[in-house]
Symmetry: C2
Subunit: 146 residues, 2 copies
DNA sequence: CCTGAATATTTCAGTGTGTCAAGCAAACCG
DNA sequence: CGGTTTGCTTGACACACTGAAATATTCAGG
């Protein structure tokens, strides 16, 4: 029950930045859902497919990466499998494990999805190369700190 | 059918920044859901309540801000109303309209939610005041551009 | 070995989010 | 007025998600 590491009160500037990040998050989300919808996928399906486009993963690992319960992954993979974008393989090393892997078609869709993200084009186009470098470093430091 | 304004191919730096923003989005989302869960709210309920903590809004306007169908808002407001965080008022100017408004308790929860967002403390704490100012301006420009 | 605990997945029931179509009431307009 | 439009709700449906229970496999001791 001991109060966690004594949380500092966020100042006005921090709250303003948080608000702006909230707006960016909303915008990113919207664009991501749109990109997914163009391939008749839901956001969750698109995220899972993107993960699998890099390498096959056991269901358990997928659940960890997506931060949800394994039982939830079952359903999402089911729907992608019906559409031929993902397949289940047996793991030769451990017969309990099922490896989910993107099919050829699945990888193709994942690439289109990545490239079709509107967010990658419009909002960042307003920034110069130098500014994007600064932004990159600030974001990196933020993620490293948290 | 005319191809939209000729989309520029995102360069490597842009894609890297997009990737980083994706990570920030995931982190923000997670923290937001956690903060909501601490008050036994879902993310959607927390977002709607936050909107109403500023001013009462007609259901129609809520749907626009949340970018979803009005019929969906009905259910979310229903659940918040049962818990006494939100109430429906009649609009004296137009009897078709129902104004959703946060109750005293609802505004209290919304404030706690805003202040309890872990994201506001940890990742931004790693940045100096000057850096947060730079970040603020870059985010503003991005949002204005898109 | 064999038994019991741990692990990986699935199934099922239940809640919330979201869409779409249909319905109702009030407002608007020619 | 009478017809259309607008604001909200309802009902049916799909998906995302959780938690508990069932199954199969692996693993660790005795």
């Amino acid at each position: 029950m001991a109060t966690p590491p004594l949380p500092p009160r966020p100042d006005a500037l921090t709250l303003e930045v948080v608000e702006l990040i909230g707006d960016v998050v909303a915008r990113f989300h919207e664009d991501y859902e749109d990109a997914a919808a163009q391939h008749a996928l839901t956001g969750a399906q698109a995220r899972l497919l993107s993960l699998l486009s890099l390498e096959p993963l056991p269901m358990r690992k997928l659940a960890q990466k997506l931060k949800c319960e394994p039982s939830n992954v079952t359903g999402i993979v089911d729907r992608l499998e019906v559409r031929g974008l993902v397949e289940r393989r047996a793991d030769p090393a451990d017969r309990r494990v099922k490896l989910a892997a993107a099919t050829e078609e699945g990888r193709r869709v994942a690439r289109q999805l990545r490239e079709g993200l509107r967010f990658a084009r419009e909002p960042l186009a307003g920034l110069s190369e130098d500014e994007r470098l600064v932004l990159r470093d600030l974001l990196r430091r933020m993620l490293a700190a948290g």
